[in-house]
């Protein structure tokens, strides 16, 4: 009957960091974020691919180690399998850690689910001189196994063929023989009406992993657990695992030759990156180099874009008759949009470096280096991923804090995230640092990001002392092997980020520039509205030496932080329409100390609208969103004032 079906659901399941999301991206053409670290995927995602006239609907589930644990990611995956059973499961297995990855596979097979297996990262295994016999493994598991590689598309058609052949797979539950007392417990649960896999799951999760039907079953379940506990020191989870690994080792004995230790290159890299004394200095140095390069390397292409924009402005200026529309185009649209567009290279470079750190496996090492400090300010080790993601954009970063289960640690991670300087603020820094601190712009960038981190940690420490902790959450992190980032996926990543930036320029920044121009050009007689507004609010910002122009720019940044740069360009635009003109105008209007204060204010003041909405949604209350806004405004004002006052003494 299923011959007539033309659409199937396929769920991707695998351990964290097994390359599942890369494979998902290849299959569906999606561009989901990947990284060489566990926990990059939190919620499930979906995509499509049509193959031989059949529509495949793919679901990328979060990476999990086991179906029997009760962490957020595991529950997402487990509930998905029970509530909306997919037609087929694509189990992605990391060839470099076969035994542990197959432990999850064995849970799927015990549950009698239809499964095909993609053995990922085979190239790495082979580089180490090890091998896996795919047909032997397939025979042992009684499931189709195929080699795959998240970095090249060459396996995709074979993989799709395999999926197509298996959409109607009839699956028999796998039977693993466990230790006699465990078998006894399983049998007693089966008598109470559970299936075998439910019995095993109940025992290995100590009564969490299955929703039992009746009170009788529940009672029998607890009785079985109590009896096991009285007979064995080991937890049932360990006993089940021994059974699983026994089965797996039997399987691998025939199909795999593995004797690898850490490779010499990995060992050498770790001996520096994880060195007790060198680790942290190297981390800080890497970050400094990253910001220095973001500024310096970015300035060359930025000059070309700038030249292009001012050429267009001049052409439009020369060919259009004098009119309001011309002014709107040249002084509003081209100046404002162009003023942000020139920072595209810097933004792209920053994303490139962050992706480099993530995909190489360095980020997980950095999480280890900073764990002690983080735990001192009430942050969980898992907060590292959301915090680093914040350098890109705070919105997905705040959502990824869902992996943190302890409510206080999660709340703190959410509330301090806006202080992690997102890429939208970079144009403002690059513009101002380029004007006032031309020689040390990279260092100023680095300093600003570090200031953000420092403020974030200080606020975290403060919150940790005022909000009570609900329970302890263990921090256990697997370190990924070092990987050479794949040029293809790096390119795609950077390409996407450039696309995001351009879309934002075409949307909110374009509208913002026009609005600012309109407010500045009307009424045509007398003081423009924008200036009136600026003068009205300016006294609040006067202690930092800001004029009405900066005031207006900061106000416009409530929508999105890039708009600050666009506003400055539009407001200062007199008769010059290239960056040099703006730089000259800003440079003469503002003292360097004020320039620095403006950067600090931009760094710290309230999150953008999208971030506020996300905080509201993730914390479930406007209260915390309000706290975040107020906290930002107060800190920004104090911080900028302090910086201005101190810098005035020195500069």
């Amino acid at each position: 009957m299923s011959d007539t079906r033309s659409s199937y659901n396929v769920a991707l399941i695998g351990n964290p960091n097994c390359g599942k999301t890369s494979l998902f991206n290849q299959l569906t053409g999606a561009r989901q974020r990947t990284g060489n670290m566990a926990g990059v995927t939190v919620t499930s995602r979906e995509g499509h691919k049509t193959w031989c006239g059949v529509d495949f609907h793919f679901i990328d589930l979060p990476g999990i180690y086991s179906l029997a644990n009760s962490r957020v990611e595991e529950m997402v995956a487990r509930d998905y399998l029970i509530e909306t059973p997919p037609d087929l499961i694509l189990n992605v297995v990391d060839a470099n850690n076969l035994a542990r990855n197959l432990a999850l596979t064995s849970q799927l097979l015990e549950q009698g689910l239809p499964v095909v297996i993609a053995l990922n990262m085979l190239d790495e295994l082979e580089k180490q001189g090890d091998s896996v016999d795919l047909s032997e493994l397939s025979l042992g598991l009684a499931k189709p196994v195929i080699g795959s590689d998240g970095r090249s598309n060459s396996h995709i058609s074979a993989l799709m063929d395999m999926l197509l052949e298996n959409v109607d797979q009839q699956a028999e539950p796998l039977l693993i023989n466990y230790e006699p007392h465990l078998e006894q417990a399983i049998t007693s649960l089966e008598h109470a009406g559970l299936t075998r896999w439910q019995s095993v799951r109940w025992l290995e999760s100590a009564g969490e992993g299955v929703a039992l039907l009746s009170d009788d079953q529940r009672e029998e379940g607890h009785r079985a657990l109590a009896q096991l506990a009285s007979r064995h020191d080991e937890s049932p989870a360990e006993m089940v695992a021994e059974g699983r690994y026994g089965y797996i080792h039997g399987l691998l004995h025939k199909s795999s030759s593995e004797h690898q230790d850490q490779s010499a290159a990995d060992h050498w890299l770790d001996s520096i990156a994880l060195n007790r004394w060198l680790g942290i200095p190297v981390f800080i140095l890497l970050l400094w180099v990253m910001f220095e390069a973001t500024f310096t390397l970015g300035s060359y292409p930025a000059d070309w874009i700038d030249a292009g924009v001012s050429w267009i402005g001049q052409q439009v200026g020369a060919f259009m008759p004098e009119s309001l529309l011309k002014n709107l185009l040249v002084e509003g649209l081209i100046a404002g949009v162009g003023g942000v567009l020139v920072f595209l290279p810097n933004v792209v470079l920053l994303f490139f470096f962050i992706a480099l750190l993530e995909q190489s496996g360095y980020m997980a090492r950095a999480a280890f280096l900073t764990d002690n400090l983080m735990s001192k300010v009430g942050l969980h080790g898992k907060a590292f991923v959301p915090l680093v993601m914040g350098f890109g954009c705070n919105v997905p970063a705040i959502m990824s804090a869902r992996t943190i289960e302890e409510p206080r640690a999660r709340l703190i991670t959410i509330l301090i995230n806006p202080f992690m300087s997102c890429s939208a603020r970079l144009p403002v820094y690059v513009l101002l640092a380029g004007i006032f601190f031309t020689e040390h712009a990279g260092t100023v960038l680095f300093g600003l990001y570090m200031l953000g981190v420092l403020v974030a940690f200080a606020i975290a420490a403060l919150l940790a002392r005022t909000i009570p902790e609900q329970h302890d959450e263990a921090f256990i992190m697997e370190l990924p092997p070092w990987r050479f980032p794949s040029p293809r996926s790096m390119l795609l990543h950077v390409w996407d980020k450039a696309g995001d930036f351009l879309r934002k320029i075409g949307g909110v920044i374009l509208v913002g520039s026009i609005l600012i121009w309109l407010l500045q050009s009307f009424p045509q007689q007398g003081t423009p509205w924008l200036e009136q507004l600026g003068h009205f609010v300016a006294p609040l910002f006067a202690p930092m030496g800001f004029g009405w122009q900066e005031t207006v720019a900061l106000l416009s940044g409530f929508i999105a932080k890039e708009v600050i740069a666009a506003s400055l360009v539009v407001v200062y635009q007199t008769d010059m329409n290239d960056m040099a003109g703006l730089q000259a105008a800003l440079g003469s209007a503002l003292a360097p100390a004020s320039g620095l204060a403006l950067m600090v204010f931009t760094l710290l003041y309230m999150p953008c609208l999208a971030t506020i909405a996300t905080i509201r949604r993730e914390t479930g209350s406007w209260r915390w969103a309000g706290v975040s806004v107020m906290m930002g405004l107060v800190l920004a004002w104090i911080g900028a004032w302090l910086v201005y006052t101190l810098a005035s003494l020195w500069i």
Partner: protein, 75 residues
């Protein structure tokens, strides 16, 4: 002795895993099992957390958790 007492360059084997149930389940799911060989891979500046080679994997553990893992030295 427990894993926290293991010194650099010492080799040991996991004898038993204690601790609260969720932690034991978590370790088991990560493939941290009785009988596996362990050694210290790296120590952070203040000595906590540390990274251990457990079997073929490198796993970062805080002392709070590592203290639940009982090991015996191998000569």
């Amino acid at each position: 002795m427990t894993l926290t007492q293991l010194k650099a360059r010492q080799q040991a084997r996991i004898k038993a895993i204690a601790g609260p149930e969720p932690l034991r389940q978590r370790l088991v799911a990560l493939g941290v099992l009785k009988g596996l060989q362990v050694s210290v891979s790296a120590t952070s500046l203040l000595g906590n957390p540390r990274i251990y080679f457990i079997g073929k994997q490198q796993i970062c553990l805080r002392s709070a958790e590592a203290g639940y893992i009982e090991v015996e030295l191998q000569s």
